[in-house]
Amino acid sequence: MIDALQPLINYIYIVASVLFIVGLKMLSRASTARRGNMVSGVGMLLAILATCLLKGMSFAWILVGAIAGTTIGVVASSMVKMTAMPEMVGILNGLGGLASLLVAWAEFHKWHAMQWASYHQTLGAGAPNSPLVTAVAMAFTAVVGAMTFSGSMLAFLKLSERITGKPIQFRGQQFVNGLVILLILAAAVVFCQNPAGGTTPYLAFGLLMLAGLVLGITSVMPIGGADMPVVISLLNSYSGIAAAAAGFIILNNVLIVAGALVGASGIILTKIMCKAMNRSLGNVLFSGFGSGSSAGDGAGVTGEANPISADDAYYVLEAARSVVFVPGYGMAVAQAQHVVRELGQALEANGADVQYCIHPVAGRMPGHMNVLLAEANVPYEQLVEPGDVNPVMAAVDVAIVIGANDVVNPAAKEDAKSPLYGMPIIEVDQARTCIVLKRSLKPGFAGVENALFFKSNTRMLFGDAKATVLQLVAAFKDR
């Protein structure tokens, strides 16, 4: 596979890597984000085309796979609803992991069939003489790829509520995880000692893949719905790491650069999500938060909630000069983003200053609420972060909480015993009036009573979020 085109192919890989970097950079600003995504897409196209220039490529089977994949990709991406975006990202992520896993397997099989000396030649000039590096890279890719695949598929099932979104825990779960990890290490050692000698390494490799699949399932199983933003970010990171590891098998730097970028971005997002919940990654992964057993109950939160009717809420809103919406997962469930936008427009027409304050972990994936509101044509200047609104919250006339709960619970600041204590929240309790749209006084995901509901400046507007907002919009129209 060494020939005159090889330098050209390498240069194109470098260009592709640069385009990925530039694309990611452009993705960090709303005004350039769309072009950034295209730039990175061009990088991907170049990398694919360059690979097709390799000497001795045969394209019949490639076309089969590529056409099938492209068709499914186009159809799926144009059909998916914006509210289903977390599931979509979960599936795509899992497929990336699956691809890396299969690449490792295919490469291992080649090696197994042709012995090291000739396999070494297929790796190209400069390949390490010792088979150990390749073996370690294969073992690592297989495990991480398998984990990414099964973990993402389970996350998809949870997010789409095909299985319960609640944490699934059993006694000795940590023990089982520990056993699986030990098994992986043992199989990896057996595999790396003698990677191509007969059936034993093949069995060890199979075991590695299988154990990776099991580990992906057992590690996502105990994680509950509202912690999904962390899990999705983490799985995103895994898929990048798997791709980078595959790059170490075939000694290809574009895989390594792109994989490392994705791995890093996933880890950063994971960190941001954990910070936004004031919890460590370990706590998210292992505590089964929200299963009811570990979470405190916020006992001592008592008092009378003040209900308000939609008509009275209209009068409050009609007098308001500044309004902040605080959407949460409940808005996505109720598909209420469009009517919320209508209400926002009505308020603006009435002379109020309207903003939408979005907590980083609201919804089921990072930035979930932003996408839904953008879909409803809310301009992105109006989408603000808690840090922008909290300092001026006392000057806000009305804060409207729609389907958010834990992220507005004042216990996070006031009650040192609360499991939420220390979590950065949106301080809607500081607003002059806070209207909470909710079906009941039921606690949120964390299982903690919300002291906000019983504050003197809080009004509870009970009912289905979408229907209630529609009533308010109608009230503004009938004026």
């Binding site: 990398a47 790059g247 996933g266 932003n370 989408l383």
Partner: protein
């Protein structure tokens, strides 16, 4: 060669951390699906697995499935990110005709 690859790997991780830590939270979802599409780069490995002649039937089967899976990841990831990013509008740009 191997040392160089590790060097590239480590530098790329730090570069990624620098690039991403500045992304505002409103762009997290498209960022995630966009970077997710980039992780489909493993398609290069899949193409080599299928396209190079020295495989055998099992390698071809594994490779074709890998190409298809990576292709869904790549095409789906970029298109869905674009769909989301198309919706992010400034106030003066007005609502998009849907």
């Amino acid at each position: 060669m191997l040392g160089l690859l590790f060097f590239v790997f480590v530098v790329a991780i730090f570069l990624g951390i620098e690039l991403i830590s500045k992304v505002p939270s409103q762009l997290h979802t498209p960022l995630m699906s966009g970077s997710n599409a980039i992780s489909g780069i493993t398609i290069v490995g899949a193409l080599i697995a299928v396209g190079q002649p020295d495989g055998g039937p099992l390698v071809t089967v594994l490779g074709v499935v890998a190409v298809a899976a990576a292709m869904i990841n790549v095409v789906g990831g970029y298109l869905v990110s674009d769909r989301m990013l198309r919706m992010f509008k400034r106030k003066d740009e007005g609502p998009k005709p849907s």
